[in-house]
């Protein structure tokens, strides 16, 4: 587009010869406005005498009869802007006392004193385009280097990964040994937990089904009540007979809760809850909501270099696992209530045996994760998996951080990791978002980075940051702002975004001559 702009400027320079045409008409439309001949509105809606073109009264629906006055609400005015870029402005800006066209042609009757600034603007723009072109050129060279380095780095890392995988084998035996120990220790715990959970779940579901089946709420599930659930038909032949129902109830006409337990296995596989149809949706959302803060803290998405933190991560992972168990196994009705201890629907506490097992697990865990190699291994894997651009040109940003200090805060952008804000004069750091994705428009997806799920805002969303990348020789954060509360915007220059500049040598020479 640089080239395009320059060419445009160039063409303006060349064509700056005045061509007779009504005020405000671009050269391209000159042929429609023929002096002395009736004028047909460009939308073809009507034909008017030529003296009604630019007579300060709007005759054409499309505004085409008044290209040079403000008479039509939807018209546009063409400024030639010799020496700069030609442009269209809305008709409403003609003679409003404000200089819009650099060639002053929009203010011909308003008393406004406008200076022709086109040459100056043209010069400035050419200068700045040139400067940008130079930056782009240098930046692009740097980018090539970056790509080269990135590729080499990648090979290194792949090699390293190989090494690690080698040593991994050595260590695997050790780990395996430990893992065996750990699992041996954990096995009873897990089993106990699952048993406990399953049993509780099972009886909860049974009770629920009983209540659902017991339509008349008489405390018994009867044959007629069962018959309304055709899915329970044992032979699934489409006719669920009373005899079949009786068979399911163990040969009696009705069962109470105690008896229901004994026939539960007959029913549970096929039974379809009446309320099933509507429950999943709200369940889904509530799960998401509850999960959200968890993923916020999931710094294991991006491993840090220090081991202790990684340990924490693993703790979280474990907790996550636990949580997942809860989430996917506990029946929906119990979910929201699980936080309240005294609630009837809540899962009862673990029995002592299970609790002991859970407690005992920690010792093994610590031992296992003292092995640092796993971290390094996962780091490399992770790094290799990032999208560092089509040619890995953004790879060099990885594990780097860039700061910008404003009057109040120090902003820190750690690409592919996160953005933070820290008060300049003490105070704790705020997470403005963790690496989310490339979020530029389709044609330049790598021009915008999105960091999401930062620290939550009161009454608002969690903080997020949009990082706009522009071409520059330096890699530097140039500005930050918060256009909306908790939605940050950061401008970031780096060579990796630079595009190959067109060869400008010739055209810039010609400009000198103009």
């Amino acid at each position: 587009w640089l080239l395009f702009l320059l060419l445009l400027l160039l063409s303006v320079g060349v064509s700056a010869v005045e061509v007779q045409r009504p005020r405000g008409v671009p050269l391209s439309k000159r042929q429609f406005y023929e002096e002395g001949k009736p004028f047909t509105c460009l939308d073809g809606s009507r034909t008017i005498p030529f003296d009604r073109v630019n007579d300060d009264y709007c005759d054409c629906q499309d505004g085409s009869d008044e290209p040079g006055t403000a008479a039509c609400p939807n018209g546009s005015f063409h400024c030639t802007n010799a020496g700069f870029r030609p442009t269209f402005i809305p008709s409403s800006r003609i003679n409003d006392g404000i200089c819009d066209c650099c060639d002053t042609t929009d203010e011909y009757n308003s008393g406004a004193t406008c200076q022709n600034t086109c040459r100056e603007l043209g010069r400035k723009e050419r200068e700045s385009l040139q400067k940008m072109a130079e930056i782009a050129k240098e930046g692009f060279l740097l980018k090539q280097q970056l790509i080269h380095e990135a590729n080499r780095g990648l090979e290194d890392k792949k090699a390293k990964l190989g090494d690690v995988q080698g040593s991994k084998k050595d260590l695997e035996a050790k780990v395996e040994a430990l893992r065996t120990v750990k699992e041996a220790a954990e096995q009873p715990e897990r089993e106990a937990k699952e048993r406990h959970l399953k049993a509780w779940e099972e009886s909860a579901r049974m009770a629920e089904v009983f209540l659902e089946l017991d339509d008349d709420a008489d405390g018994f599930v009867s044959v007629p009540e069962l018959l309304s659930h055709s899915e329970l038909d044992p032979d699934a032949d489409g006719s669920f007979t009373e005899a079949e129902a009786q068979g399911l109830l163990g040969g009696v006409d009705k069962v109470d809760t105690a008896a229901f337990e004994s026939i539960w296995s007959n029913v549970k596989e096929k039974y379809m809850s009446e309320s099933n149809a509507d429950t999943p949706a709200p369940e889904e959302t509530s799960r998401e909501e509850i999960n959200e803060p968890v993923s916020d803290n999931e710094s294991d998405q991006y491993p840090d270099d220090d081991i202790p933190e990684d340990e924490d991560d693993d703790d979280e992972e474990d907790e996550d696992d636990d949580r997942d168990e809860h989430e996917y196994k506990i029946p929906p009705t119990a979910r929201t209530e699980e936080k309240k201890d005294d609630d009837e629907g809540a899962m009862p506490p673990y029995d002592q045996e299970t609790q002991n097992l859970i407690d005992g697990k920690n010792a093994f865990k610590t031992e296992l994760f003292n092995f640092g190699f796993g971290i390094c291994f996962r780091n490399l894997e992770k790094e290799i998996s990032f999208d560092f651009g089509p040619s890995s040109e953004f790879a060099y940003l990885y594990s780097q951080c860039y700061e910008l200090t404003t009057s109040e805060y120090i902003y820190r952008l750690c690409p592919f990791n996160r953005v933070t804000q820290k008060p300049k004069f003490g105070g704790s750091e705020t997470n403005l978002g963790s690496w989310g994705k490339w979020a530029g428009p389709e044609d330049s997806i790598y021009s915008v980075m999105k960091y999401e799920h930062g620290t939550g805002c009161w009454q608002g969303p969690s903080r997020s940051t949009t990082v706009k990348l522009t071409c520059g020789k330096e890699t530097v954060v140039t500005s930050t702002s918060e256009p909306s509360r908790c939605e940050y915007l950061m401008e970031f220059t780096c060579p990796a975004i630079c595009q190959e500049p067109p060869n400008l040598e010739i055209s810039s020479h010609e400009h000198q001559e103009l």
Binding site: D55, D56, Y57, A70, A71, P73, P90, S92, R93, D96, G97, I98, T406, S407, C457, W458, Q459, G460, S481, E482, P483, S484, R485, C486, E487
Partner: protein
């Protein structure tokens, strides 16, 4: 700006996710000791008796003593007949222990009195003539009662239910060790009354953690009014409630006590930011008004016998915590008479600068100069006009008003110049709470001059507000106001220019840690308690600020000041908005009755935050709000700091186009808005008015609040329902026709018309018989349109006539007071349209001309001839659309200030 909620509220929020006012922060009548005490009085047991022998009648007034037979305390009643069919009744203690507060600065002058005469008198009472139309006042002696009669009709009765109560000032029991007082008591036989029982809350009252020390003890006043024949009463804003006031028998009375209510709830009688103690009563026969001039906390009870078989009657009862009874009974008889009667007392709407009727873009906050610049550029890029961009509290240096944040707004003049280059303006907020900070010039000056409100112990009152610890200037002092005004001088308020105007927020006053988020009632303003003046504080803040803006221009330029708190008389000072509303459909809907209620009591320049202040509007709601707001007097978008950005172009091109179109409609109508404000300024008529004001006999209009009139000639029924497919508008007047302003479709009056709507629809109708001037060349600000030509919309009625006005002046100075304006009457009759000078002694010239005349409901002429003042005639070209009967006259071209006639043959 929102008040800050306290922490408990914040927590509640998080735990329950509720979204509504915390009612517990504000008093019910039951929790307000004087209201509870007064409301407990039973009707029909009035202890008051008129002592007819004490009656004195002079040329200007009648005085008479009243005695409370229970405690022998005497009151002095004064009765005045005021010019323009107003009766004033004042009741005070005959010999108060110390003076009681009488509200100053609200009446524009001492009202002109007219003579009263005694028609008859006996031991039971006196009959006085009010001078006009067989109007009489009957004063009954036992119990005391006043009836205002016209012929044989009772227009209004006072103390007819016997609820007059006047708590006399008294010595506190435990302080009666004072020997002076005891002696006095012995000496004066009238004080040997039976001892009144001391109730809780008479000498001290605690609400939540706040104790009101009440050094003056009980001091409430109360009076009842009966309105025979009346079923509809209106006014007493500000409440988020229906236009027609409800009866209060089964709940709290309407409360008037200026409060910063966090996230107010709709449809209840709770107090809000402003108070105008004026009620308008209307029936098909007559319109009257009651103006209760008292600035203390006030409650208004309304009951009605509607539904019973008796003649309809509404009973009203006013209760105030302190001060005196000073009432103005405005006897109409038409709605417009009541408006002019009230205007004769408290003044009219200030005449705003034309630009302030344009669109205002506000947000808490535009972050810095760069932000302002880019929003400004956004309007140009998206071709949406606007006149003012606003800066909320964050623009200051640490919430120190009259300063700029040195980093974010380092070069304010540069910013203002940038706006001025585009003929646009800015408003910056100046709140009345002043940061207590020894390095802050404003604070130091106010403190050293002793201008702060004092706490009960005599020190400077301090409360918590945006800046942290803050003090509150005593705006009731004229010298304080003069000083404050001087702070707006360009050399005092650094970084300002003539295109910077002011917004007074938080002037209830809001005190985050005060009782009911406002100032302690026992704080003092010189001799008076805050209790006495509370509802007046906000008015004084705006008064001082507006004066500052006038003074800085040497008295040349009209000020523009927006206020949140207000009182009777605030209409003279600027604009009012409905405070911190929310992005909900209900809030959009209620903006109509809220502004209509204000208009009825003089405040025409009213608007609600477009889009809703709290929360984030759906795109549909935002678009509908822009459409509705385009047809309300004050048109400003505003948003809470915690909400996502919502500049008009952030919702996709389709919605940008819808918003652009709504704003453009506003701008085309600016000439009409402006002349309506001129009329409001001259006459006191509301700009935005309920239908019944123009159709006072049409019962179907009495409770309408989903549509209204702008002036007399535009009927607006905005779409305020989510997903609306259509609206049903009531078109009044069986002899009227109404023209859809968009399609020119003609509709008969006196019908409910269903109008299908799409997202682009804003149902608006022009009354047949009217002429409305518009400027169709919408530009990027109103100032850019100054010299543009007019299009006249002539809508013919069934008699094929129409009339209207055209007012033009410079749009921003007080020169109109020097008769520098154009004021013309436009008339269409007998196929002749003419423009006649309504103000021959006025002088003004304009570049504007008439570019087009559109006649709605026209028949096709064979020719149209224009005759100008110089006698020249010319034939004009025209178009006639037979399907819609619309005649468009092309480019007549005469100057808008000239005499001319146009003949349609």
């Amino acid at each position: 700006t929102a008040s800050k909620c306290d922490c408990t509220l914040k927590l509640m929020f998080l735990s329950f996710g509720t979204w509504a006012v915390d009612k517990g922060n504000f008093k019910t009548c039951e929790q307000s000791a004087f209201c509870k005490r007064q409301r407990a009085l039973k009707p029909g047991e009035s202890p008051y008796r008129a002592l007819l022998e004490t009656m004195e009648l002079t040329n200007t007034r009648l005085t008479l003593q009243l005695i409370n037979d229970n405690n022998k305390v005497r009151l002095l009643l004064e009765l005045y007949r005021l010019q323009g069919n107003i009766t004033r009744v004042k009741i005070n203690e005959l010999k108060p222990l110390k003076p009681r507060y009488e509200v100053p600065d609200v009446l524009i002058r001492e009202p002109t009195t007219e003579p009263l005469s005694v028609l008859s008198q006996d031991e039971n009472g006196v009959v006085l003539s009010l001078g006009v139309e067989s109007q009489r006042v009957i004063i009954s002696a036992r119990p005391f009662r006043l009836d205002i009669m016209e012929g044989s009709d009772v227009l209004m009765s006072l103390n007819s239910r016997g609820l007059l109560a006047f708590e006399h000032l008294r010595m506190r029991k435990d302080t009666q060790a004072d020997p002076e007082a005891e002696k006095k008591e012995e000496a004066d036989p009238t004080t040997k009354e039976e001892e009144e029982k001391v109730e809780d809350g008479m000498w001290e009252e605690t609400f939540k953690s706040h104790t009101d020390s009440k050094p003056n003890g009980p001091s409430a006043v109360s009076l009842d009014f009966s309105l025979p024949g009346v079923e509809h009463v209106y006014g007493i804003p500000e409440h988020a409630d229906t236009l027609r006031l409800k009866t209060t028998d089964n709940g709290d009375p309407y409360r008037l006590y200026n409060l910063d209510v966090f996230q107010y709830e709709l449809y209840n009688p709770m107090a809000l930011y402003g108070s105008v103690p004026v009620m308008v009563a209307h029936s098909a026969q007559r319109t009257t008004g009651i103006f209760w001039l008292n600035a203390a906390e006030t409650w208004v009870d309304i009951s009605s016998n509607t539904g019973s078989s008796e003649t309809p009657q509404t009973d009203v009862r006013w209760i105030s915590e302190s001060g005196i009874i000073d009432i103005f009974i405005m006897l109409g008889p038409t709605p417009k008479d009541v408006f002019s009667q009230y205007a004769s007392l408290t003044g009219t709407q200030s005449f705003p600068p034309l630009a302030s009727l344009g669109y205002h873009q506000c947000r808490w906050n535009y972050n810095d100069q760069e932000d302002v610049k880019s929003v400004d550029a956004g309007f140009d890029e998206h071709d949406i006009p606007y006149d003012f961009i606003w800066l909320d509290i964050e623009h200051t240096d640490g919430k120190r008003y009259f300063t700029w944040d040195p980093h974010k707004f380092a070069t304010p003049k540069e910013m203002l110049q940038g706006l001025m280059d585009k003929k646009r303006k800015m408003v910056a907020i100046v709140d009345p709470h002043i940061k207590v900070d020894g390095n802050y010039k404003i604070h130091n000056e106010i403190r050293s001059r002793g201008f702060y409100v004092k706490n009960k112990d005599g020190g400077d009152y301090e409360g918590w507000c945006w800046p942290g610890s803050a003090s509150y200037p005593d705006f009731t002092r004229a010298d304080m106001r003069a000083w404050w005004a001087s702070m707006f001088a360009y050399d005092q308020y650094e970084g300002t220019m003539e295109n910077l105007y002011t917004w007074n927020d938080m002037n209830e006053p809001s005190v985050f840690n005060g009782p009911e988020v406002t100032m302690h009632k026992d704080a003092t303003h010189g001799a008076w308690e805050h209790r006495d003046i509370h509802n007046l504080y906000g008015l004084y803040v705006q008064m001082a600020t507006a004066e500052g803006l006038i003074q800085r221009s040497g008295g040349v330029e009209r000020p523009f000041v927006l206020t949140r708190a207000f009182f009777a008389g605030s209409q003279r000072l600027g604009a009012v908005w409905t405070g911190d509303n929310a992005a909900e459909w209900g809030h959009l809907k209620i903006s109509i009755p809220m502004c209509l209620s204000m208009g009825l009591v003089g405040i025409s320049f009213c608007g609600a935050d477009i889009g809703g202040f709290f929360k984030s509007p759906s795109t549909e709601l935002l678009v509908r709000w822009y459409q509705a707001g385009a047809y309300q007097p004050f048109y400003r978008a505003h948003a809470h700091v915690d909400t996502p950005r919502r500049e008009p172009w952030l919702f996709g091109p389709e919605n940008t186009a819808l918003i652009r179109e709504a704003v453009r409609q506003r701008y085309t109508l600016l000439p009409y808005w402006y002349q309506l404000f001129y009329r409001a300024h001259v006459t006191g008529e509301p700009v935005m008015r309920p239908l019944w004001v123009e159709y006072p006999q049409d019962l179907a209009t009495f409770a309408l609040e989903d549509e209204y009139l702008i002036g007399r000639d535009l009927l607006v029924h905005p779409v305020v329902e989510e997903g609306a497919r259509g609206v049903t508008a009531y078109l009044p007047g069986k002899d009227e026709v109404w023209f859809d302003v968009h399609t020119f479709q003609k509709h008969n009056g006196a019908q409910n018309l269903y109008i299908p709507v799409t997202m682009s629809s804003i149902p608006v109708f022009q009354r047949g018989g009217s002429i409305i001037p518009r400027k169709l060349r919408v530009r990027r600000s109103s100032t850019c349109m100054e010299h543009d030509p007019y299009t006249l919309y002539v809508a013919l009625n069934l008699q094929r006539t129409a009339d209207g006005e055209l007012y033009i002046d410079d749009g921003h100075t007080f020169n109109y007071e020097k008769k520098e304006f154009i004021y013309r009457k436009l008339t269409f009759a007998n196929k002749v349209l003419s423009s006649v000078n309504l103000a021959p002694d006025a002088k003004f010239t304009t570049d504007s001309w008439i570019e087009r005349i559109i006649v709605l409901g026209a028949s096709k002429p064979s020719k149209v001839t224009l005759k100008t003042a110089d006698g020249q005639e010319k034939q004009l070209e025209f178009d006639f659309d037979a399907s819609m009967s619309v005649l468009t006259v092309r480019k007549p071209g005469m100057n808008a200030g000239a005499d001319w006639t146009m003949t349609f043959q």
